[in-house]
């Protein structure tokens, strides 16, 4: 009973935070509401005894990813999100109607579905016997999920290279030793040329 009440509280707060995120005009407010949503999702993970996942949710999403979001907002010097009222007004209503329709469809379909118990019949109780959620996660990650785990490191490598390729600035004249391509920046007329 307590479990259900807590779940409902956290999930309602998470959804409310999500709605707030997409409706706030001030981007920083939207961002803080997104953090709020992440915290509530972490609480739900916590409630299902997935403590590791809960901590990751807070560390990585509410912590690290949000730092990036703040940086982007500062970079672009965004203040409020100026929607072009005239051009998108009708589209917005159609989109909202379609979203509600999809939501109803998902709820109707998924309400009639019985979900199978997970691989190996794991429950919170058996997980405690196996040494706790973090250990079960680690055992699975380094046994069955080994290849996706190693591929994930390659994905991280690509992200690193990509960020550097796209962001690293070319050296100006004088410090030519690690220059990027001199003359890479096109003239104003060439900027919009076909590539």
């Amino acid at each position: 009973m307590t479990e259900k009440i807590l779940f409902i509280v956290f999930s309602v707060l998470a959804v409310a935070g999500g709605l707030g995120t997409i409706t706030r005009k001030n981007v920083v407010h939207g961002l803080l509401l997104l953090v709020f949503t992440f915290l509530n999702v972490a609480a739900i993970f916590f409630l299902t005894q997935a403590y590791f996942l809960a901590v990751i949710q807070i560390l990585v999403y509410a912590g690290a990813i949000m730092v990036l979001f703040v940086f982007v907002i500062m970079l672009l010097n965004l203040r409020t999100f100026e929607q072009e009222e005239q051009t998108h007004r009708r589209q917005r209503w159609i989109a909202a109607a379609l979203s509600v329709l999809v939501l109803v469809e998902f709820v109707v379909v998924l309400a009639g579905v019985t979900f199978t118990s997970v691989r190996g019949g794991l429950t919170p109780e058996t997980m405690t016997d196996l040494g706790g959620g973090t250990k079960v996660f680690g055992d699975a990650l380094f046994n069955n999920m080994l290849l996706p785990f190693e591929v994930a490191s390659v994905v991280l490598l690509v992200a690193m290279v990509g960020a550097i390729v796209l962001v690293k600035r070319e050296k100006t004249a004088g410090g030519a030793t690690r220059a990027w391509e001199p003359g890479e920046r096109p003239t104003p007329e060439a900027l919009e040329e076909e590539v």
Binding site: F115, V118, P148, V154, E184, A190, V195
Partner: protein
């Protein structure tokens, strides 16, 4: 625990090592003007691809699985690994001059192409939804970066941003579908999912999961109505990369669809068959009709690649409709044929752009008189365009022939008729380019900058030879496709 069997991933390991070496060598390449001589990284990248190609060919006929059944090595996986290695090699060969002309020749380009190929290889070899997703992300993230490679160019930025937003949206949809599959089946391996869901037939929950996974992969093959990113992304991406996008990720997504859907969703074959048939009709219509009105040749080829995805989807739909893998044979032949002819067509545009880096804007108008300016380029482009149309004697005809005969085999003759009719429509926009090249007077004189580089010539020559050889002697291709299908489904 056991040490994993690494033999099935040797080609990917070679590519990964080559990419890492490129990344480690690149910062040390310096010449006096600060630009660096990139011959070394190109050589490393090509050696890696060649190594992966040779090893893949040496592994023909194997049948083993590794990493707890997530990944297999069979003729199916080898077929796609070979195709991806050749395709990426052709892309790398055509790139240096083009990048040099845009003053943005960096070794990272080659490393990212290699890493994208690793992702594509794993997509084709995966037998598990989780590996499929991670491999798809590896391919996709490399692609987003490559699309934005000309970071000061407005179009390149637009291309990458549109690709990234729609692509990550599609990935999220697919991931949601995979999570439903896991919830319903309690497993993520294709075979295990098929066993768990086989008896449940087309219940609403299963259909929703199948639908979401199909939509996510439909984005990657640019099936209508999930195609709207394609023209802008291809037009704005560097041309060799547009060539890569049009064959690589698309082929990988088709490989994943064919490998996953028959095995994992056998209870709902009719339903997903119909879904792909509907998609295929929409895709063929949208691709062909929009291509008719394009005046930018690069954009026209983007719409044409949508149309080709439509032809391919008829075969996939027929697989589901008949509940049999046989129509898939034609899809695989088509994918091989399409790789060469499309890389050739885009490669030729890259060559023209390299010659005139500032004045060439890919417009039909500027194609006028090409037959006189550089006759062999015009002849080659004509060959690729005729092949894309599906003229007998070219690879495109063989591909279409096998796909549509598979569709007819599945008693969907009306679908094949639609496909053939729309191929006739496509002749208009392909032949129009040829007419401009040979029979229109140019409005202005163009200054041709430099002769063709050896790499570009090799790339175009291989594409052209393959287009003709597949067109005349398709039986070896058919045999390797048949052995790939035997490996997968028996």
């Amino acid at each position: 625990m056991q040490w994993p069997d690494l033999v099935p991933v040797i080609p990917e390991l070679i590519l990964l090592v080559a990419a890492c070496v490129v990344l480690l060598v690149e910062p040390f390449l310096k010449t006096e003007d600060g630009r660096g001589d990139k011959t070394a990284v190109i050589a490393i990248a090509l050696t890696g691809l060649l190594g992966a190609l040779v090893v893949s060919l040496a592994l023909v006929g194997q049948d083993r699985e590794s990493f707890a059944g997530m990944l297999v090595l069979d003729d199916w996986a080898v077929f796609f690994k070979v195709l991806f290695a050749i395709g990426a090699g052709l892309v790398i060969l055509m790139s240096p001059g083009y990048l040099e002309a845009h003053r943005r020749h960096l070794g990272e380009f080659y490393a990212l192409v290699l890493l994208a190929v690793v992702g594509m290889d794993l997509m084709a070899a995966a037998r598990d939804f989780i590996l499929l997703y991670v491999a798809l992300e590896l391919m996709a993230i490399s692609s987003y970066v490559l699309a934005a490679f000309f970071r000061y160019r407005v179009r390149s930025n637009e291309s990458s941003l549109k690709y990234f937003l729609t692509g990550s949206f599609a990935s999220a949809i697919m991931l949601y579908g995979i999570s439903l599959v896991y919830g319903l089946a309690g497993a993520t391996g294709y075979a295990a999912v098929g066993q768990a869901l086989g008896g449940r037939g087309g219940s609403a929950g299963v259909l929703l999961a199948v639908f979401l996974v199909a939509v996510g992969l439909g984005f990657k093959v640019s099936a209508a109505p999930f195609h709207m990113w394609t023209p802008d992304v291809y037009q704005g991406a560097p041309t060799p990369i547009a060539a890569f996008f049009s064959v690589g990720p698309k082929t990988a997504a088709f490989a994943a669809i064919m490998a996953a859907f028959i095995v994992a969703f056998p209870g709902a074959v009719q339903e997903w068959g119909v879904f792909f048939i509907v998609l295929s009709i929409a895709t063929m219509l949208v691709g062909n009709l929009y291509a008719l009105v394009q005046t930018n040749v690069k954009r026209m080829l983007a719409y044409s690649s949508i149309a080709h995805a439509g032809y391919l989807l008829t075969g996939v739909g027929a697989m589901g409709w008949a509940g049999n893998s046989y129509p898939g044979h034609g899809v695989m032949v088509y994918l091989a044929a399409y790789t060469f002819m499309n890389l050739g067509a885009f490669g030729l545009l890259a060559y023209l752009k390299t010659q005139m880096p500032h004045s060439f804007d890919y417009s039909l108008k500027q194609m006028a008189g090409l037959g006189r300016r550089s006759p062999w380029a015009a002849v080659l482009l004509s060959l690729f365009l005729l092949s894309l149309t599906g003229i007998p004697g070219t690879a495109g005809f063989i591909g279409k022939f096998y796909v549509f005969s598979g569709v007819v085999w599945a008693d969907l003759w009306w679908l094949a008729v639609i496909g053939v009719l729309l191929s006739v429509v496509s002749a208009y926009y392909y032949l129009r380019v040829i007419i401009y090249m040979f029979f229109r007077e140019p409005e202005e004189e163009y200054e041709v900058r430099e002769p063709i580089s050896g790499g570009m010539a090799a790339s175009l020559a291989v594409s052209a030879i393959a287009t003709v050889v597949i067109g005349i002697l398709p039986s070896w291709l058919w045999d390797s496709v048949a052995s790939a299908f035997n490996a997968l489904f028996d």
